[in-house]
């Protein structure tokens, strides 16, 4: 029953329109982040008031903002924060989710019930409030965003993966494995985790999209990226004062965020269909995650 990485899944993913869209958008973001380390169309932080609100041109692909900074460069440089937050949040939430799910789903009875209550409480504790609590003590910054998003979505992953693990654990082949004398650890590693992997991956992909929304919200509130670091959320904040005069510039960061988040949602959908046909009718609760974004 062990599920080895299978290139068939990848081919199926790219083959579906949603999967292809997701891979293209996410590919562009990843490449932009890499390229931005070596080259940018302009200096994202270079301001020149004489150049403020310049229309799109060869020098400024998308024009400039209120202090003459190149919008295209800021968008491309902003992918670094996005990639950092997405990867960081995925690692933290994946780890927390998996550990909590395994202990609260399969651990000793005395640990299970308290952990389930803990997960319920943490789920009721919105990510945004968690981030503000951390920011109150440590001050703001990208690490605050990663940790709070990681914990916030980690417990949601835990809840979904927990019920999946418990369902699999009740199946006959697990009983057979136990009867064959396999140790608990081997059963977990060889049978339980591989079979819960599809649900876990889908949840992880959703939480990566939500991490981008959380970064935008937190940076907007001033708890995320510092003003000197270009980030999509900060760009929204910067534009706010000028939307009455220059309504079009506010389109760019918003569109970029929406497209990227959409790509993660669709990637989740496509993964769901290509990895686990049982999931087609929306088993497992992803509802809370979707309710969470700022």
């Amino acid at each position: 029953m062990s599920a080895r990485p299978d290139f068939g899944i990848f081919r199926q993913l790219v083959g579906s329109p949603r999967g292809a869209f997701a891979m293209i958008v996410l590919g562009i973001v990843a490449i932009a982040a890499l390229v931005s380390l070596f080259w940018l169309p302009g200096d994202p932080n270079h301001s020149n008031v004489y150049d403020a609100w310049a229309p799109p041109s060869a020098a400024h692909w998308l024009g400039t903002d209120y202090s003459g900074r190149d919008i295209a460069s800021r968008l491309i440089a902003g992918t670094r924060v996005t990639v950092l937050v997405v990867l960081g949040a995925a690692i933290v939430s994946g780890f927390i989710g998996l550990v909590l799910a395994v202990i609260s789903g399969l651990g000793p009875r005395t640990l299970r019930e308290p952990l389930v209550i803990l997960i319920d409480v943490l789920i009721a504790f919105p990510t945004l409030l968690l981030a503000m609590m951390l920011a109150a003590v440590f001050g703001s910054g990208i690490p605050i965003v990663i940790v709070s998003v990681g914990i916030g979505y980690g417990v949601q992953i835990a809840r979904v993966v927990r019920s999946e693990l418990r369902q699999i654990n009740a199946e006959d082949f697990i009983l057979a494995a136990r009867a064959a004398g396999l140790s608990r650890w081997t059963i977990l590693r060889m049978h339980l985790l591989p079979n819960a992997a599809p649900v876990f991956t889908v949840q992880l992909s959703l939480s990566m999209g939500l991490a981008i929304l959380a970064e935008a919200g937190l940076s907007y509130l001033g708890f995320g990226a510092p003003p000197s670091v270009p980030s999509w959320g900060l760009m929204l904040k910067d534009m706010q004062a000028y939307i009455a005069v220059h309504p079009t510039v506010v389109l760019w960061p918003g569109l970029t965020i929406t497209l990227t988040v959409l790509a993660f949602y669709l990637l989740g959908d496509a993964l769901r269909e290509s990895m686990d046909p049982r999931l087609r009718f929306g088993r497992g609760s992803t509802r809370k995650q979707e309710a969470e974004h700022g």
């Binding site: 209550i117 803990l118 319920d120 409480v121 943490l122 009721a124 504790f125 919105p126 990510t127 945004l128 409030l129 503000m132 609590m133 951390l134 920011a135 109150a136 003590v137 440590f138 999209g209 929304l213 935008a216 919200g217 907007y220 509130l221 001033g222 708890f223 959320g233 929204l236 904040k237 534009m239 706010q240 939307i243 009455a244 309504p247 506010v250 960061p253 918003g254 965020i257 929406t258 497209l259 988040v261 959409l262 949602y265 669709l266 009718f281 929306g282 509802r287 809370k288 979707e290 309710a291 969470e292 974004h293 700022g294």
Partner: protein, 317 residues
């Protein structure tokens, strides 16, 4: 039923205690002295000591915790370190903006999601349903701030229908003006949350249409629509009710960002300002009040769901 109520009540209490512990401990045990954080980096050691003395921060932690809990139970939350105003009174005052905003947004979300969700499932291959489904996914990917900004550009700057910022100084003295001020914010939150709820309603209705009791009703001579309305939708309604607790949590969080965007004097905006001013004691109490509201609503929704869903009464014996 009484057994269910007792268990649910006990888990609620356990949850509230756990939440209060998490909030209290993370604000006290994290590296850094609370008095120093409140005083700021420029405070002299004497000033920091004075703050510590005034807030009782030099007493043992368990004592501080019990005091704080006792204060919450009796409604005495102390006063703000920065402004000196009583915290409980300020929370009550700010709630006059946040609670109506949340209810208003919830109303919009339900108004959008219920009819459209049922329609998109009922005629799922029709073109409008497909367009709606795509819109539903896209709307859930839109950052709330950006949606609010676009709303301001369209309804305020271009059309001039709605105010873009602020809340009338008189509060609810003029209910019409107050509602007008809340309309654009509520639309922003309501449409985004509505998009998420729409997907939920649609998939619930789809499975209701495929459910055996609905198909049986059709075979008995009901039309597809008649069977759905009489036998399918009650179940859909119940699943929506069971979702409402989480929905409200999402709306409350949406309110934090949206209040900031529209300069509404609500709880979310107060929290942002307090965090900025490192008013830790007030942040601690506000965070607990918000979390408690979400936990209590979640429990209330569970109880209501249990009361109105006949399927859950089966295992009573």
């Amino acid at each position: 039923m009484s057994r269910f109520l007792a268990v649910r009540f006990l888990t609620l209490i356990a949850g509230l205690l756990l939440a209060s512990l998490i909030i209290f401990l993370s604000l006290r045990l994290l590296p850094g002295d609370v008095a120093q954080v409140i005083g700021g980096t420029s405070a002299s050691p004497d000033q920091v000591a004075a703050i510590r003395e005034r807030l009782g921060l030099n007493r043992p932690l368990p004592l501080q915790y019990v005091d704080w809990l006792g204060g919450i139970l009796t409604g005495k939350l102390g006063s703000s370190v920065v402004s000196g105003t009583p915290i409980a009174a300020e929370i009550a005052q700010k709630a006059q903006v946040t609670v109506p905003l949340t209810v208003y947004s919830l109303g919009i979300a339900l108004l959008v999601a219920l009819p459209l969700g049922v329609f998109a499932a009922y005629r799922r291959h029709a073109l409008p349903s497909r367009v709606l489904s795509v819109l539903g996914v896209v709307a859930a990917a839109v950052p709330a701030v950006w949606a609010g900004l676009l709303g301001i550009v369209v309804f305020s700057t271009w059309l001039g229908w709605l105010p873009s910022q602020g809340f009338p100084r008189g509060g609810w003295e003029d209910p019409f003006r107050a509602m007008r001020a809340l309309t654009l914010p509520a639309l922003t939150i309501g449409l985004i949350e509505g998009a998420i709820l729409f997907r939920f309603v649609k998939s619930a209705t789809l499975s209701a249409l495929g459910a055996e009791h609905v198909r049986t009703a059709m075979s008995r001579g009901h039309t597809r629509l008649g069977a759905l309305i009489r036998h399918g939708l009650p179940g859909v309604g119940l699943s929506v009710v069971s979702m409402l607790g989480l929905q409200v949590a999402g709306l409350l969080v949406g309110a934090v960002v949206i209040e900031q965007l529209f300069s509404l004097p609500g709880l979310g905006r107060m929290l942002v300002v307090d965090v900025g001013q490192r008013d830790l004691i007030k942040v601690q109490s506000t965070l607990f009040v918000l979390t408690a509201v979400i936990l209590i609503l979640g429990a209330a929704v569970d109880v209501v769901h249990r009361l109105i869903d006949p399927r859950l009464r089966v295992d009573e014996q």
